[in-house]
């Protein structure tokens, strides 16, 4: 048994937004724990609440329209109760974030060196000029940018997409945070560059032991890098599992649908892809009961519960996995094994 070091504990997180059309229930009752040195993946289709969950962990959601409830503890500190000063302290040195579009995270008018330096100085106000400069070069080297001394004087547009994402990672990690939240960090990149960036994140993690929360819509990326996985649908966690269990014995009908819908490089999968009929629901007007029921093949097997009762997360199959579904365990395991093979 390896000792576990929780660095982030999220309990019953819910986030809703007030909009002209009504209240959007973006995140509903999400709980998870992130451990030191480990990678937790969140997978789900667009609009399932992944990014809103991530932003809540830095308290980045718009405070005027957003209503947040639940608790978030970062290294033992209550994030929800933190003052603005404490928040500034937490951001960067405890938790840092990397987004899909590196260009939006960078200022086009400053050199990349200046931007790495600035992020460092926020948490090291007394650092000397030469110390800061050394840190900049050190970080650029770490994230694999050739000729760091010279390139630190270049502007963001002088870099390729992959190199820009490396710089964003350098900025995120300059204060040695315990937690890195990466929201679709490779979605905008080509596969060969994606592979480089994922390798980089994992090797930095091996070096400094940070915990990574990796958000993606790509099950392949999850399979390559995550240790534990949350599957989200319509703002809720519908399955929580070890990555190997998720692919071997998935325990939620939505996970079954997702796994069946992925094309693969392996030609044994040719022919009709399995599909999930219909489209995800509007978060303004969620279906009653299990939000997945209008698209679910198995909703007729549960005596009408699917339409009326929200299922809660329970162990249905493997020891460390749980899913929110009204199906009986035996049935779940039977179908899960078939899908997983």
């Amino acid at each position: 048994m390896e000792a576990s070091h929780p660095v982030l504990i999220v309990e019953n997180l819910s986030v809703s937004f007030e909009t002209p059309d009504g209240i959007v229930h973006a995140v509903n009752d999400v709980s998870f724990v992130l451990h030191r040195g480990k990678t937790l993946g969140i997978v789900g289709e667009s609009g399932s609440g992944k990014s809103v969950t991530a932003s809540s962990l830095m308290r980045l959601n718009n405070s005027v329209t957003a209503t947040t409830s639940g608790s978030v503890q970062v290294s033992g500190k209550d994030l929800m109760a933190a003052s603005d000063d404490e928040l500034r302290q937490i951001r960067g040195s405890e938790i840092a974030m990397v987004f899909q579009d590196p260009m939006s995270a960078l200022n086009p008018y400053y050199t990349v060196g200046a931007q790495i330096a600035e992020a460092y100085e926020v948490h090291h106000p007394n650092a000397s000029k030469s110390e800061v400069q050394m840190k900049v070069i050190d970080m650029m080297t770490k994230v694999g940018i050739p000729n760091p001394e010279q390139r630190s004087k270049d502007y963001p547009h002088q870099f390729s997409g992959g190199m820009r994402q490396r710089i964003v990672i350098a900025i995120a990690l300059v204060n040695d945070p315990k937690i890195l939240i990466a929201d679709e960090p490779t979605t905008a990149l080509d596969v060969t560059v994606q592979a480089q960036i994922l390798d980089l994140m994992l090797s930095l993690q091996a070096e400094n032991g940070m915990a990574i929360l990796l958000i993606t819509h790509d099950l392949g990326v999850i399979a390559e890098v995550a240790r534990d996985v949350l599957v989200m649908y319509a703002g809720r966690v519908v399955e929580k599992a070890d990555v190997e269990d998720l692919f071997e014995i998935p325990t939620h009908p939505y996970s079954w649908g997702l796994l069946g819908a992925v094309s693969s490089l392996d030609d044994s999968h040719r022919g009709q892809l399995k599909t999930i009929e219909g489209a995800p629901p509007s978060l303004l007007n969620l279906p009653t009961g299990c939000a997945f029921h209008p698209r679910c093949t198995y909703s007729s097997e549960n005596n009408g519960q699917c339409e009326t009762l929200v299922p809660s997360l329970m162990q249905k199959g493997p020891e460390h996995s749980s899913s929110a579904c009204h199906l009986q365990s035996a049935r779940v395991v039977q179908i899960g094994r078939e899908v997983g093979k």
Partner: protein, 339 residues
């Protein structure tokens, strides 16, 4: 015995002028977006075109559909050279080759009803009108899995997957023989991707279409294509039956590309034999001499810098442009999923 040819592309080239206009207003440099591409598309076949962003896939599509004029080369449709057609004869050709675009959001006019969008090509061609037009539209909507009663609705009332169905219906309304789909599922979620891929496959079989399917997602192309061409910096570096290219890739670039695709199986994680390309794709304004891939290739030799490798048939229609193709002993004999 070979199948009848639907479309042939011969030595197609597109250079875009770029940089500041120099002396006498001539562009100082040229961006070599597509640089000598040739292939044959047989009737009823799906040719997949893969490669990383900027390698020239969309430009190639726009050259074939005559949305762009080539710098040189030929496009031959059903034995007719269509490269320089204009006016009415070009319009006739446009009936036969249709395109499906990536972004179902931006390629549909938000102020037009679905019925108007789908019927627009018919009206441009001026072939049918009134009741017949309406019945063709409804028929087409049903064919692509849309409710024909919704012809009066507007694009924003549809989900992303349904909007792509609208785009597909529009492309099919003129009974084309060739469809060019440029990243048709890239903007969609996986569960919706699968719906659209299944629809495209079914339509192709039912209507006997010839298909060019462009995507950066190698798994999606593996799923749908009979034959695949891999592009790098404006050139085809490898081409052949999908099973051959995916199973025994010969070009180092293809091999590296395949080995970078994340595999949805945690048990195959971090296996050995994975190739990681260093650096970025060079600029298409000044591509490397000789083989364009040589600056990132671990097998590059002096020959690669001095001589451009021609695209050669290595047997059974499996073509490669490389001085040092992969040997089976290098791991290329096994599909990358067995790494």
């Amino acid at each position: 015995m070979s199948k009848p040819i639907a479309l042939e592309v011969r030595n197609l080239v597109k250079y875009f002028p770029t940089g500041h206009k120099g002396f006498l207003g001539r562009p100082s440099q040229e961006l070599k977006a597509v640089d000598g591409v040739s292939f044959v598309l047989s009737k009823g076949e799906t040719l997949g075109i893969v490669g990383e962003s900027g390698c020239g896939k969309s430009t190639l599509a726009r050259l074939i559909t005559r949305l762009l004029d080539p710098s040189s080369g030929q496009v031959i449709l059903d034995s007719q050279d269509i490269t320089h057609l204009r006016g009415r004869r070009l319009r006739d050709v446009r009936r036969q080759i249709q395109m499906i675009f990536q972004d179902p959001y931006s390629s549909l006019n938000p102020r037009h009803s679905v019925g108007q969008i789908i019927s627009a090509p018919l009206e441009v061609q001026g072939i049918v009108s009134g009741d017949e037009l309406m019945s063709r539209v409804r028929e087409m909507m049903a064919l692509v899995g849309l409710n024909p009663e919704h012809y009066n609705r507007y694009p924003h009332e549809f989900s992303g997957g349904q909007r792509q169905r609208i785009g597909i219906a529009r492309s099919l309304i003129l009974n084309p023989s060739v469809i060019i789909a440029d990243e048709p599922v890239s903007a969609l979620d996986v569960s919706i991707q699968a719906q659209i891929l299944n629809l495209l496959e079914k339509l192709q079989q039912d209507l006997g279409l010839s298909f060019i399917f462009i995507a950066h997602d190698l798994s999606v192309v593996r799923h749908i294509a009979d034959k695949v061409a891999v592009m790098y910096l404006g050139k085809i570096v490898e081409m052949g039956p999908s099973s051959a290219v995916y199973g025994r890739s010969l070009h180092p670039y293809t091999t590296a590309l395949l080995s970078a695709v994340p595999v949805a199986n945690p048990k195959k994680r971090g296996a050995s034999g994975r190739i990681r390309l260093q650096g970025d794709v060079p600029s298409p304004v000044n591509p490397p001499s000789g083989c364009r891939f040589r600056t990132r290739c671990w097998k590059a030799s002096e020959l690669c810098a001095s001589h451009e490798p021609p695209l050669i048939d290595m047997g059974e229609g499996h073509l490669v442009a490389c001085h040092h193709p992969m040997e089976p002993s290098e791991g290329a004999g096994k599909p990358p999923v067995e790494r």
